[in-house]
Symmetry: C2
Subunit: 343 residues, 2 copies
């Protein structure tokens, strides 16, 4: 990638700042007047032409100003922008809201998404942690009726997962024995580890001879396998996005609505973010793929005991104020990770 001269950077910076503020194509005149009085519009035009050739800018039509391309934004994010640090008052607000005795992990996450959306004035998205990253607290089997058994798994963090399995009929007192066995034997493992342990034990001698153990293991494995999937998604503050002037177009609005509906896709993209340390910004192709051209997503994974378990982010027009949103998302991921530590 070609290097940009200092002056070019300055001009790209000015164009982006102006565009973020107004949403309109920006012309050479404005830059010269408002940002770089020492240069004439003509000079700015020359530079703009260069930047356009490099793919950083584009013109909606010949006689309009220029708007930054996704590539232009990317360059801005990498080379030019300085991330502001989050205002003390905002940090305090977040810390207070998040720690104020949330009973339940779901509730904690819901609060996080509300805060993200309100502070950033955009939509926010949170993927709930994969259950299997958490520590096993308790399992229960409840016989509903002939052949239907409900499995309930509770994690230490207060997540509950339940699922009905169908199979041979087993009496409730037997089921209680199974549950007791599992609850007593498998302390302090993550649910993932527990499943592996069950599988190992399945092959051991004890299981082969003790029918209670073997049946318990069997049910347990079925249950824990089912726990794996179902990543839950919370999207908050869609209205703020719908009301952005950037959505002047009917088809565009429909695209966005559909993109929000189709959570599977968003999850798939956010999962890629999960592995990357720090805050990522998704622009251009990735978003087009979601049917959200001209939008972008600022996202970060959050973790528990240094293992990434979920991700969160802010979705808004590509012309959002990254210097504020990025630290916001970063801080929220940080706080959330800390809170999960304790749970």
């Amino acid at each position: 990638m070609t290097e940009l001269s200092d002056r070019n950077k300055k001009i790209l910076n000015a164009i982006i700042r102006e565009y973020v503020e107004t949403g309109e194509p920006v012309g050479s005149r404005i830059i010269s007047r408002k940002y770089m009085t020492e240069l004439s519009p003509a000079t700015i035009r020359n530079v703009m032409a260069d930047l356009e050739e490099m793919g950083m800018l584009q013109q909606p039509h010949v006689s309009a100003g220029r708007i930054p391309t996704p590539e232009g934004f990317r360059r801005y994010l990498n080379d030019i922008m300085e991330v502001k640090s989050l205002a003390k008052s905002v940090k305090n607000l977040i810390a207070r809201q998040m720690t104020r005795g949330a009973a339940d992990i779901r509730e904690t996450l819901r609060r996080a998404s509300v805060l993200l959306s309100q502070i950033s004035q955009n939509a926010s998205i949170i993927i709930l942690p994969r259950m299997d990253a958490f520590h096993f607290k308790r399992i229960d089997f409840v016989r509903l009726d002939m052949g239907r058994i409900m499995v309930i798994v509770v994690s230490k963090a207060g997540m509950v997962y339940n699922h009905v399995v169908k199979g041979e009929d087993i009496a409730q007192n037997k089921l209680d024995q199974f549950a007791n066995y599992l609850n007593e034997t498998y302390h302090d493992l993550t649910i993932h580890e527990m499943r592996d342990a069950l599988m190992r034990e399945m092959k051991s001698e004890k299981a082969v001879f003790d029918s209670i153990v073997s049946q318990a293991l069997d049910l347990g494995i079925t249950a824990l396998n089912a726990v794996e999937d179902v990543p839950d998604v919370v999207i908050q503050g869609k209205e703020t996005v719908f009301n952005k002037p950037d959505l002047a177009d009917l088809d565009k609005l429909k695209d966005i609505v559909n993109a929000f509906e189709d959570k599977g896709r968003i999850v798939r993209i956010l999962n890629r973010v999960l592995e990357v340390p720090g805050v990522s910004v998704l622009l251009g192709e990735d978003m087009e793929h979601l049917g959200m051209d001209n939008f972008s997503m600022v996202a970060s994974g959050y973790s528990r005991r240094n293992v990434p378990v979920g991700s969160l982010g802010v979705i808004g027009p590509i012309r959002m104020d990254y210097s504020r949103v990025i630290p916001l998302v970063g801080y929220m991921a940080h706080i959330l990770s800390e809170l999960l530590e304790e749970m």
Copy 2:
């Protein structure tokens, strides 16, 4: 309400059929040509003028045809339309899909909403049954950590409700005793009845002297009170509505999106339907109140042992084909009620 002559009914019927098909204002010419060749356009015009005066029709502007008002639709539904019976093939499809071993009541309802939406080509909505209408199966208390207890209530139908309560710290083995006591004592009651029973027992001698009983009752009441609210809502197939040509207008689309977001309101309106036997059609004012002018909702309550527990419906443009949608909703409510009977 003034009576309509047979001929007027026929003409209103024709106008509505044409409007349902095209979505455009319909003029006298088309009616004369396509539906009532024995009458000239001029005659139709006279009748139309009458119908307009009665509030059944309206003109978007002077030189356009007429479109039926909500009142016109209401009259059509009450006096004119003949409900078709549901095609055998559709009935079979539904019966097959719905009975094909659904493990879980949530799953059953999800299937119902998918079917409703696919068959009607509109959005569908289902309110999950109020938990407290179901029979109590089992309660569990799990101590998460210092002072946080998770309550899990399972109904016979396989609904699970869970909730974290914070209070004084109680050891897990105590909690197990509480749960056992409640599970053994309160068979075969609905959750509603059970709560009442707990409240009664609270005042009895036994509770006063036996601290286990009294603590168990206390926790139980807290838990069951929390179960009451939270009517869950599933809306399926929003896309189909977004893509209707009726939503040509940007603001309208935003209204609809917002209406879908604000589930509380929809629930409140659907709850009114719950008491009414049979299928209701919501038109005009009710829908305007939701920000969904020009849309309507065909809804019906469904019940369990003749007690209404939830409602379901189809939401679409006011110009939907009621003669098909109404029996569809009716049949689905019927099947669902039957299935719930067994659970």
